[in-house]
């Protein structure tokens, strides 16, 4: 069965420092990967998807099929980036996503 692993429950960085939130997946086929974000007192929402190859709020994520990873990166973290981040996987024509356990990012002033 497919699985998403986010090894860091908590991650703290200082403002202006680079940040990388790790995501690894297990699936033998061609996956679709996503990052969802939940800011304090807000709803969970889609941040970005690998297929779009876009940068959202300065964040990018590259799918590395060799390493089965989809790490989320930002070169200069801002305090407003503090949030819970979830990596999610869709396999084939599935009608649901598989989410990881989440990483709570805190950007310190």
């Amino acid at each position: 069965a497919q699985r998403v692993t986010q090894p860091e429950k908590l991650l703290s960085v200082f403002k202006g420092a680079p940040v990388e939130l790790k995501c690894n997946y297990s699936y033998s086929g061609s996956p679709e990967l996503f990052w969802y974000v939940q800011y304090s007192r807000q709803r969970l929402q889609l941040l970005l998807r690998h297929i779009s190859r876009e940068s959202i709020k300065g964040f990018t994520a590259d799918l590395n099929k060799g390493e089965t990873s989809f790490h989320l990166k930002k070169p200069f973290a801002q305090e407003e980036d503090s949030a819970m981040y979830y990596c999610a996987l869709k396999v084939g024509s599935a009608r649901q996503l598989t989410f990881g356990s989440g990483t709570q990012l805190t950007v310190l002033p």
């Binding site: 709803r43 969970l44 998807r49 979830y86 869709k90 009608r95 649901q96 989440g102």
Partner: protein, 112 residues
């Protein structure tokens, strides 16, 4: 703007009670989902529905059932609540493609 609403933000129930959590979406989405959100365990899918009266089990369906009588409404039912069902419950909806799911504000259920 897609709106997903959940019937309660906070709920306190006693062990053994029957609990109904309701979710309504206003965008004519085909798919609706119920998740549990627990610290350290992340988001786990309980049940989802891709059409009226259709449902499929997610990863942790035990102790739960669902009902979807109308397209816009998806109910989660705890037949006999137990303390280990104390959690944050999130409802979501999406079009046929589940990539972009729209989440409700969540219901924090405490079972005493």
């Amino acid at each position: 703007d897609v709106k997903v609403t959940q019937s309660s933000r906070y709920l306190v129930k006693r062990t053994g009670e029957k609990v109904f959590l309701e979710c309504v979406q206003d965008m004519d989405h085909e798919n609706m989902f119920w998740y549990r959100q627990d610290p350290g365990l992340g988001l786990r899918l309980i049940y989802f529905s891709y059409d009226v009266k259709m449902k499929e089990k997610g990863d942790i369906p035990e102790g739960y059932s669902v009902s979807r009588e109308k397209k816009e409404r998806f109910s989660l039912i705890l037949e006999s609540a137990s303390t280990n069902q104390t959690s944050m419950y999130l409802c979501a909806s999406s079009l046929v493609n589940p990539d972009t799911q729209y989440f409700g504000p969540g219901t924090r259920l405490t079972v005493l």
